[in-house]
Symmetry: C2
Subunit: 331 residues, 2 copies
DNA sequence: ATTTGCTATGGGAACGTTCCCATGATTAAC
DNA sequence: GTTAATCATGGGAACGTTCCCATAGCAAAT
């Protein structure tokens, strides 16, 4: 069943049918009606291959995630999918890996499908990948979703995570915390370094101690937060506050503290980062730095679609983070 | 840059280049070498639209998930993506909704992309959707991933969840539990009913009480498990065991119990279902019924690809569940 | 010497769209 | 009443592959 058959059934030419489908060019109200009806009755669906061959558009977007076990990514995708769907796009999801070793291959896989654009997440800042992304982005727009791309000649959307963590750390200091521990990402990851920088900056400014015993490198898993809390609390002089680079790791820390009868926030304050949905459900509800995820995700996909449909010029956006004080940090 | 340009550069005809790309038909070793080299140098990528127009294959698979906040689905997808990727396929992910209201539209969206096959998850058994899936599956294979499809004229992969829950309930009874509560899915969902049936069957066989006060309907969220535990434990005669239809809800129940100093398993046993990765990390580690997720996911995608590439006949598979006893149920 | 089968290659039609161009019909403007 | 602008339609080339068919060289078998 093709455009030709529809044309015959509706008693018009294939050109007219084409005009109906692509909604451009003149077509008489009567013809329109008849073609629409015939298409409906015949359950006709335009052939995307033929369409794509002429237009070079697939209405498909490729998304690269380094890991799907952190609920941050599914939450982000949920927002993206809503918007892209409403604009007629469908999304390929590729799971790369935390070290970015498979990224180049997956980008090629996506390009082989003639996707219209790419949304890129990574834990790493791999020069080869950046070069590739830069070179394709004149043809196929790419939007990167992390602050570590700042300074690169690429489109990105990110948040001022450094300032976010800085503000939160200041808040803890001002509310009297003296020994503030930090759970950062693995040393091998470039992602999240801005968060760690904000923490260090606030400590330095306040002449607070920056000991190795107060920093733990995790792998962004919940279990790492749990282990970090154990590492901190088993010291003879444990911290009175624990900040985590992600809510997900803060969850793990909270679990450890709750299970060991260590009162939060009386004995130790806990602060996360991201403001995941579940932060209101923890015990106690988690003070966290809000990454304006919904705003960022919306912006990322809308930017990408704008670039696809209008202008491929680079667009870079930075959002503010906001400290959200809940019970896990109250004295 | 198309097959014609490559042919000219390599000094052969476009037919020979086509034979090189599609790896079929005779081509001399020398020609092969030259064409390969030219393609490499020109960074040539075959045009999938033109290819698809002739072959009617997109090497794309569509996956429908009703919800992405339950980590069960990302875990499943991770397995699927690994395998489909290794066989040259990429996956579109559509998030429908728990009530299945958007499923028909999303299926149409996918068909509009000429996907080669569909993997279908749902919380509901919507007759319209089933009719649609049955009608398309002669052309575009569909593999459903839940036991509620048993009896339908569709390909599916599922587990004997009824028996799984039955076995687990028997185990609790035999280890001396007398009042066994159950956290089921929302009444509006057809999914998970087999699990609930297994629970009821075991209770009836042992002449144990089946009170309304021992059954709670949740929405598969962690918070629902938390609420369920509160509902059960605030009764004057609380249960000595809580089973949940999903690990995710069991996590919520465990949180409630831990936070309220109710000893697990001494005061109350907790049993989940799914054997998510995180079950070994809870406190105490969670006894659960293993849904052989990896095996099922592997089977689902391999079945689908087999149907795409070989034979579209219906394939139906049922796997066994296995009780995994950890500390949350030990007396 | 002829036939057969295998290897190797090239030409051309076909897939189902879009889009440019040509052709009228009708209406509006002078 | 001619000209111009707008509306409506159809024909045909083009997009970049695959695949069928024709051709032909060469070795092995008759």
């Amino acid at each position: 069943m093709n455009i030709h058959d529809i044309a015959k059934l509706a008693g018009v030419s294939k050109s007219t049918v084409s005009r109906v489908i692509s909604k451009n060019g003149y077509v008489a109200a009567e013809s329109l009606q008849r073609v629409l009806q015939v298409m409906e009755e015949a359950n006709y669906r335009p052939n995307m291959f033929a369409k794509g061959m002429r237009t070079n558009r697939s209405y498909s977007i490729g998304i690269l995630f380094p890991d799907l076990s952190n609920p941050f990514f599914p939450e982000w995708y949920h927002v993206v999918e809503q918007i892209s769907g409403s604009k007629g796009y469908l999304n390929y999801i590729c799971i790369t890996d935390p070290f970015g070793e498979t990224e180049l291959k997956r980008i090629d896989d996506l390009l082989g499908r003639s996707i219209d654009g790419i949304i890129y997440f990574s834990y790493q800042k791999n020069p080869d990948v950046l070069t590739k992304l830069k070179s394709i982005s004149k043809q196929t727009p790419v939007v990167c979703c992390d602050g570590m791309m700042i300074g690169e000649d690429l489109s990105y959307v990110c948040a001022d995570e450094r300032k976010g963590t800085y503000d939160a750390t200041r808040f803890l200091i001002e509310s009297g915390r003296k020994r503030i521990a930090y759970i950062k990402g693995a040393d091998a990851y470039q992602i999240g370094l801005n968060r760690y920088e904000g923490y260090k900056k606030a400590l330095v400014e306040s002449d607070l101690e920056m000991a190795d015993s107060l920093v733990f490198s995790g792998d962004f898993k919940m279990a790492d937060g749990y282990e970090a809390a154990r590492f901190f609390m088993e010291q003879q002089n444990p911290p009175d506050a624990i900040m985590a680079a992600t809510d997900f790791m803060a969850f793990g820390a909270l679990n450890y503290l709750n299970e060991h009868g260590i009162n939060v926030p009386d004995s130790v304050a806990v602060v996360g980062f991201d403001n995941l949905t579940r932060t209101t459900e923890t015990n106690p509800p988690l003070t966290t730095i809000e990454l304006p995820m919904e705003k960022m995700a919306t912006n990322a996909i809308e930017t990408l679609i704008f670039q696809i449909e209008n202008d491929k010029a680079i667009i870079q956006q930075v959002f503010d983070c906001k400290l959200i004080v809940r019970q896990s940090s109250h004295l």
